[in-house]
Symmetry: none
DNA sequence: GATGAATGAGTCTTCATTCAT
DNA sequence: GATGAATGAAGACTCATTCAT
C-alpha cells in the first residue's frame, strides 16, 4: 500500500534524494557556467543519474531553473532575515543595512538569480500560501516600516522593488565581475544610497 | 595594396556598407528576438550578404554583440545629452532627470543592453580616445557636478554607476516586462530615488 | 499453486480484469492517436495500473497491438454476421452488401486495423480452433457460396481476400481521410465493384 | 555571378549530387526497414554526408518521405506507361492489364508507397503542371476510356481510385509478405477482378 | 502478482564556423 | 573580397523495458 508520494517510506526517501541531487548539481553548474552553457547532460552526469531521470522530476530545463531560483532566493532571504533578527537592532535603517550585508554573502546564488530574476515570478511565489509564508512576513514588515515613515503603500512597494534591483545589479557586478571595483569598496556607497532611497 | 581599413576609396565604401548592413540587421534581430535566439544565418539573410562575409567583418558572434552594444549605447547617450543641452535647464538635478527621461525612450536598445551590459566594457570604451571623446565629456561633466556637491571623485563615479544600474534595471523591467507596473507609474518614484542618490 | 491462467477463481478474475482494462485503454488510444503515437505510459495511466503490470500481460508493444487487432476484428465481423443473418436476405449478393455496409460502421476499428492488418495473421487466427470457431463458419459460408457459383476453391478464397483489401482500403481512405470523397458518395460504386468481383 | 540555383555550374552539380545521394540512401533504407525504423542518422551515414547536410535539402523527415513517394511513384507509373505504349495493344483492357503487370514489378517502391500512399497527395501532385504533365495525360486517357464505355466521369475516377487501392494492397501483400500466396498465383485472379471492375 | 522509479540508447534538430571556388 | 555548401558537435527530449521492493 502506498501511503505517500514523497513521504517517509524508503522509496520516498530515495526519490527525494535523487531530486535533491539533481537540484544541487544543477545549482553548482548554473552558478559556475551559467544556465545557458549548462546542458542537461552535464547535470545528470554530475548528479550521477540517467538522463531520463531528469525528466522524471522536471518538465524541462526552464522548470528546474525557475524552481531553483525560487527555492534558493527564498532560502537566502529567509536566512538573512533570521540573522538580522538575531542582531536585535533597533533602527529600521540598521536592520535594512545588516540584511543587505548578509544577503550579499551568497555569491553563487547572486550569479544565478541576477540574470534570471523576475519580479513577477517572485511576487507570484510570495502569494503561494504554503511555501512562502515566512517570506511574505518579511516583505510586509519592510513595507510596513516604510509606510510608517509616511510613504504610501504603492511607493513603499516600488521602493522595495528598486532596492532589490539596485542591490542585485551592484552586487552582481562588483562581486562576480569586480566592476567597477570590489564589493568592499562599493558597499559603503551602496548603503548610503539605499538609506537615501528609504528616507526620501 | 590596401591602403586603408575604413577609408574613402570606392572599395572601402562598399566594405563599410556591408558592415553597416550587418550591424543594423543584427541590431534589429537582437532587440526583437534576443541575441540567443538570433542565428548568424538570420543576420546575413536580412543583411543580404553571404554567410562567409559575416566572418570577414566580425571575429565571431560575441564580437558583433559587444561592438553593437558599445556603438548603440554611446549613440543613444550622445543623443540624450544633445537633447538635454537643448533644454537649457539650469539645475543639475533637472538636467539629470531630463536626461534619464530621454534615455529611457529607446526601448529596443534597452532590451539589447540590459542583459549584456557590462560597466567594464563601457569604461573601456570611454577610454578609447578616437571614438568616444564626446561621451567622455558627458561623464566628466556629470561627475564634476557631483564633486561640486562635495562628493569625492570615487563616490561620484560609483554614484553614476549605480544610477546606471538602477535606471537600467528598472526601465528594463517596467518597459519590457511591465513588472511590477508600467514605466509611467514607476517614473515619478524612480526620479525621486535618483535625486536622493545624487543629493545624499 | 496456480491452477489456471484465465480461470474462475477470484485472483483469476482480478487478473482478467487488469488485462481487459489494458486492452480497452490501448484500443481507445490506438484508434484515436495511432499506435505509433501511443506510449505504454499512456496506456497504463488510462488503465489505472502500474507500468510494470503491462509487461505481466503482454510481451511487448507489438504483442498488444496484434492481439487487439485480432480480437477486435473478429468481434466486429461476428457482429456484422449476426446482424446480416437477422435480415433474412435471400440472395447471396444482398447478404454480402448488407454485411459490408454494417462492417464499415466501426470507424475506430477501421483506423486501427487498416495500417496494421495482415491477412496471414488473420488466417492464422481463423485456424485457432478455440477462439474463432464462429468466424471460421462465416468464411466458409461465404466461400461456399462462391463455389456454388462455379468458382473453384482457390479463387473463392482469393476473392474474399481481395474484397477485404478493397473494402478495407476504400473505407479507410474515404471515412478517415475523406479522400477522394465521402464514404456515402463512394458506397454505391464500391458495392457495384464488389458485386462485379463476386459475379465474374 | 550566380546564374542558377541548381543548374549547370560545377557547384550546382555537386549540390544536386548530394541531394540525389540523400534521396537514394533514404529510398534504400525506407524500403528495407520502413520509414519508421530509419533514422536520419542512418540516411546520412549511408549517403556519406554530414547530418546537417540533410537539413540543407529537406525540411524534416516527412519532407523526404513525401518527396520520395511522389518522385518514385510518378517515375514508376511513367515507365509503366511507356512500356505499355510500346506494346501497341489495341484493346483498352489489354493495355490496362499490361500496365498493371509492369507496374507491379517494382517491389521496393511498392513497400514504400503502400503504407504511406495518400490519394490526396497523389491528386495534388497531378495538378502540379510542371512536373507531372505526362502522368496527368495517362490518368485522363484511362478515365476517357471508361467514359467511352458509358461510365460517367465521377464513377470513372472512383473506379481508377479503387483499382489503385486494390492493386496496391494485393501486390503489397503478395509480393512483400507472400500472403495469402505469391503474386504469380494471385495475378490471374487479380486481373479478372480488375477487368470486372472496368466492365461493370 | 503489482508497483513505479530508473535507465540510457535513440531521435530529431540547430547552428557557429570553415573553406574550396 | 565574396560566396554558400558542408560540417559535425552539441543539445533537448522520448520511451520501451527492467528490476528491486
Amino acid at each position: 500500500m502506498t501511503r505517500d508520494k514523497s513521504g517517509s517510506s524508503k522509496v520516498g526517501e530515495k526519490k527525494r534524494k535523487k531530486e535533491t541531487e539533481l537540484f544541487s548539481a544543477a545549482y553548482e553548474l548554473f552558478t559556475t557556467k551559467g544556465t545557458q552553457n549548462t546542458a542537461i547532460d552535464d547535470i545528470v552526469k554530475r548528479a550521477g543519474v540517467a538522463k531520463g531521470t531528469f525528466y522524471l522530476y522536471f518538465k524541462d530545463k526552464y522548470d528546474i531553473i525557475n524552481r531553483l531560483i525560487l527555492q534558493k532566493s527564498s532560502q537566502v532571504i529567509k536566512e538573512a532575515v533570521e540573522k538580522t533578527e538575531e542582531q536585535k537592532l533597533d533602527r529600521f535603517e540598521d536592520r535594512t543595512l545588516f540584511f543587505i550585508n548578509y544577503f550579499k554573502e551568497n555569491k553563487l546564488m547572486l550569479k544565478l538569480i541576477n540574470k534570471n530574476f523576475s519580479w513577477g515570478l517572485f511576487r507570484r511565489a510570495l502569494r503561494n500560501p504554503e511555501q512562502y509564508k515566512e517570506m511574505e512576513g518579511i516583505v510586509e514588515i519592510f513595507i510596513g516600516n516604510l509606510v510608517e515613515k509616511n510613504m504610501n503603500l504603492d511607493e513603499a512597494e516600488l521602493t522595495l522593488f528598486m532596492i532589490f534591483e539596485l542591490v542585485g545589479s551592484v552586487c552582481y557586478s562588483s562581486i562576480i565581475l569586480e566592476e567597477p571595483t570590489t564589493i568592499d569598496e562599493i558597499k559603503p556607497i551602496l548603503f548610503k544610497k539605499v538609506l537615501a532611497m528609504i528616507s526620501y
